[in-house]
Symmetry: C2
Subunit: 199 residues, 2 copies
């Protein structure tokens, strides 16, 4: 009924939202670099404060890197990373402000808002997480299943996969075609009135 | 060319991503409660850790509330809030864990992960921001324009619009049909190789 109020067609509503579902097991079918590039070509339009785009992504493809990552995931997530054809580490570059003269030329001094590291870290975390939400939807837009995870040793992953000390990990996401018994029953969602108030 | 790699149809790609664009001015056409309900009915499926759904939204409709909010926005954002038919304050409930026995019944003790307030705040901020990214896309899915903003007095908004001390503001978003000169030129996006590395 409420569909009449949406401009998005119902097939897209289903693909991205209504039938999209966190996957816990994946098939062996590989995920190509070209698929990830097509996803990025779509989700790169996510809005960020002053166009700062702090998200950085490590694609974990080699067996050696996958094993290192599995060792840093919480127990409940190890099998998901071990079994997915591709896993991505989503992080932010806390030195994103160095790119602002190029990314936000309308305000050449935008970089100066971020001289303090804590201000940079807060802004990077907020905007990078918005981009992560877009990236999850991009995975669904490519007809793939996403298994986003936040249970891991974040400091360990940062040290192991980002050696410059300038990055913070946000989330890890397994990517692929769903395998057998990939999905758990959908959890209850809060009702509109539990989330929204009007003033 | 890369579109062949996506399952999402090209009209939906354009609506949500390629032609979606932060709006800076809005027409007078109202945004109804039914439209916001339809948006929520779509974006409520965003994945969150342990299905925690910490996002809470205040819809600022009355003139009195709008004036209070305008006073707490940074100078560059006051006109946008004053001129939009509807503005939403996106925040998180740092006491979200009280709902976990209902929202994540598969693990009845999930609430115990969050006995410490800093752990709750970090998780709420991460997951609520993911939900905010979905909400922005939901606004586009409804054929509306979104003007997300992070320039405001966050402590002031928290005190003014959430009196229980349990909420943190993430972002403010103006919602409506685009007005005249609503859009600035699209800012440059980082190239794939600047964002992604493979290991």
């Amino acid at each position: 009924m409420t569909n009449d109020l949406l401009a998005l067609d119902s097939a897209a509503q289903d693909l991205l939202f209504r039938e999209a579902h966190t996957a816990h097991a994946f098939s062996d079918e590989p995920v190509s670099d070209e698929q990830i590039q097509a996803i990025y070509d779509l989700v790169k339009y996510a809005p960020t404060s002053l166009n700062q785009q702090p998200l950085r992504v490590v694609l974990v493809r080699s067996e050696e890197a996958r094993e290192r990552l599995v060792g840093l995931m919480s127990d409940g997530n190890k099998a998901k990373v071990a079994g997915a054809p591709l896993t991505a580490i989503l992080a932010v570059d806390n030195e994103f402000h160095e790119h602002l003269p190029r990314l936000f030329p309308a305000y050449p001094n935008a970089k100066d808002f971020f001289t303090e590291r804590p201000a940079r870290e807060g802004s990077a975390r907020l905007n990078g997480t918005l981009q992560a939400g877009y990236f999850f939807l991009g995975i669904r837009a490519a007809g793939l299943a996403a298994g986003p995870m936040t249970g891991f040793d974040g400091d360990g992953i940062t040290k192991e996969f980002f050696t410059d000390g300038n990055h913070s990990v946000l989330a890890v996401v397994a990517i692929g075609k769903p395998g057998e018994q990939a999905f758990f029953p959908r959890g209850e969602r809060l009702a509109f009135d539990e989330v929204f108030t009007t003033v």
